[in-house]
Subunit: 406 residues, 2 copies
Amino acid sequence: MKAIQGNVLYGQSGGPTAVINASAYGVIKEALRHTDIIPEIYAMKYGIRGALNGELIQIRNQDDADLEKLPSTPGAAFGSVRYKLKDFSVDETDYCHLLAVLKHYNIRFFFLNGGNDSMDTCDKVDRYLQREGYQCQVIGIPKTIDNDLPITDHSPGYGSAAKYIANTIMEIVCDTISYPKSKVAIVEIMGRHSGWLTASSHIATHNGSGPDLIYLPEIPFNSEQFLADVKRIYTAKNRCVIAVSEGISDQEGHFLGLSSRARDDFGHAMLGGVAHSLADLVSEKLGYDTRPMELGLVQRCASHLQSKVDLQEAIMVGRVAVRRALAGDNGVMICIRRKQNDPYDVSYFTHPFADIANGEAMMPRNMINASGNGLTDAFLDYVLPLVQGEVKPKYKQGVVGFCHIK
Amino acid sequence: MKAIQGNVLYGQSGGPTAVINASAYGVIKEALRHTDIIPEIYAMKYGIRGALNGELIQIRNQDDADLEKLPSTPGAAFGSVRYKLKDFSVDETDYCHLLAVLKHYNIRFFFLNGGNDSMDTCDKVDRYLQREGYQCQVIGIPKTIDNDLPITDHSPGYGSAAKYIANTIMEIVCDTISYPKSKVAIVEIMGRHSGWLTASSHIATHNGSGPDLIYLPEIPFNSEQFLADVKRIYTAKNRCVIAVSEGISDQEGHFLGLSSRARDDFGHAMLGGVAHSLADLVSEKLGYDTRPMELGLVQRCASHLQSKVDLQEAIMVGRVAVRRALAGDNGVMICIRRKQNDPYDVSYFTHPFADIANGEAMMPRNMINASGNGLTDAFLDYVLPLVQGEVKPKYKQGVVGFCHIK
C-alpha cells in the first residue's frame, strides 16, 4: 500500500547498544530528505511508553550539533523502556491510547528500534492499526547486542559489543598472565540463551591472547567435563582463562547463574553470578586460586569502542527503514543479508514480524568446537567482518562527546 | 658518581597499567641510543623474581616490529610479580642471588618500574649494592594507576586509568538514565587508600553525564549521611548514580568492603564488594532498586583507551631514567613536575627513594567538596590535562595488536 503523507514516530526499546542511536540518526537523516512527504519527525520519550502517553520529542527542536553526536552517544538517547503490550484481544486500553496519539500527531510512519520483544510489539501495533483501518507504515529496526534475532544475518549492536568484549578480554588475559602463577580467571559475559557475545571472546584467542575455554548456552554445561578441562589447561599452561555466558544451563536446562528469582519487566529471569559459582567449584574441587569477574553493563554501551562496520550498518538500517516505509512496506523488520565476506558486503531486505517476534537465533553447532568448549573457524568467518574498523569519536575534555536530547 | 660501561636490566613490578610497557619502550629506545656505554639490554622475566633467579629476557632477541607494539600492549609484557624483599640486615639470601646475577650479566643500570612497594625494593637493592661496593645506577620509574606516589605531581598509568573510568562511567550513566525509572547504580572503583581513581569519574559529571555522588577513602564514610544523600538525589532526579572507592572506611577506620581476610603477596588486605554492601544498605533502608557493579580489572589495563598525555609521559619517564643513569644519578625515582596547565607542560626531576618508598599521596582536602561526596574545580584543574588526547592503536582483526615477548 502506497505510503501517505504524515509524520514519523521513532522509538527505542529494550536495552541499549553502542550503536542504537546511530540507527536513530539514520532514520532522522533519511526522513529529513523527504520533507515533502514527512513534515515532522518525532521520537518517543522512553520508548513505547512515550507513544502511549503522548510524550513525544520533536526532532525539529534539537540542535543540529547535538544530533550529529547521536552516532557516538551511548545509552538510548531518547529513552527506552521494557514494556510488554497485552494482546489487544484481551485488553485494548494501550492500543486506544496509542491510536489517539498517532492520530493527534498524524503519525504515518512508525519505527521501533529493538530486539525480539520489540518486534512482537511492532507486530501487535501493526495488526491493531490494520484492524482499525488507520494507515501507518510500521517498520522494525533491528537492535540487539545478543545477536539473537532470526532471519537477519546479524543485528546492529552485536559487532560493537563483540569488538568491546574481544578487546577487553584480550587486555584481561594480558594482565592475568603478567604473573608467574596466575589465578584461574573466569569472565562472565552477557547472553541469556545464545552464545554470540561470549563466543566473540574467541577473537582474542585467535589473536594470541584470549580465553583458553569458552562455555556457551547452546551446549549443556557438564561440571565434571568443565573441571577436567580446567585441570588439563592449568596443568599444561600454568594459567587458565575462561569465558562463560551468563546463560549456561545444566543438562536438565537449569540456569547455573540463577541466583535469585528476580525477573525483569518482560518476565525474564534475571541472571548473574555464574562466574562466582564456577569459581567456587574450581576452588573447592581443584584447589586453584580463582578470579571471577563480570564484564558488566559496559558491554552494551561502550560507544568509545564501536566497530565501524557495525556503526555504518546501524545507520543504514535506520535509513533503509525510512526508504522502505516510503515505498509502502509495512509489518516488516529490516534485515541484513551477507552477500560475501571478502570483501565484506551486505544488502538489506525486509521480513514480516511474525517470524521474527519472540524468535531466537542460536549459534549453529558447526560454529562451536566438538568438545563444546571453544569456537571453530566457521565462527571466525562469521564474526571477523563484523568487528572491523575503528571509529574515532570526538572527545571533549577527555570523554566522548555525546548528544543531550531536549 | 659517573656511570661505568655495562648493561641495562629493566623490570616491571606490581599490577600493570595501560602504559607500563610504554615506559619499557622508553627505556629500550633510549638505551639503544647509547650502545657505546650500554652494549646489552635485559628485562627481568616476572619482575624482581627474574632478577633473583637469573631469568632474563634479552631485548636483542626480540623482533623490532614487536617492540614497536610495546606502547599499546596491555599487561606487563615482561611479566611482573608482587614480591617483598626482606631487609638485608635480616636475610641476605635474595641479595646474594641478585648480586651474582648482576655481576654475571655485567648489569650497571638497574631500572624497576613500579609503585610504592617497588621503590622500597629499589631502595634496599641500592643500599645493598653500595654496601657491597658494586657500582650500579639504581633508578625507579614511576607506575601506578592509583596515583599515590608522593613527591611526583602524578604517576604514569593514572591518566589512562582516569580516562577509562571517566568514559566508562559516562557510558554507564547514559545507559542507566535510558529508563524512566532507573535503579540506584553503585559503581565500585579501584583505590585502596587514595581516591584519585574514583575521583576521575567526576570528569564525566563535569561533562554532563556522571555520578551524582562520589565517595572517597580520604573522607570517613558515614552511612546516615550517605542514605540522606541518596534519598535527596533520587527524590529530586528520579535517578542516582554513585561512584565509590573500594577503599572507603568508616569513622573507626574499618574498610566497608573488607569481605574476607584474604591478603595479597605484599600482605595488603584484599578489598572488594563495597558496591554490594552499599546496595544492600540502600535497598534495606530506602527500599530503592539497586544495581551494584565493579569496574574490575580493565581499569588498569585498558590499552585501547590510553590518554595520549599519559602515554607520552610514560615513554618519557623511561627515557629520562636512562639519561639520568648515564649522567650518574643513583638511588632516585624519576618524578614529574607540572610547570603549567595552559598549555600543559611538565619537566622531569629525580628524588631519593627514601621519601617515596612506602609513602602514599592522598588527595588534598581542597580537591574534595565540603560535603565529602564530590569533587571541586581544584581537582578538575589537576586531572583534566592528564586525560587529554587519544591514541589510535593499530588493530589487527578487530583487536589492538600487542607485543609478544619471546
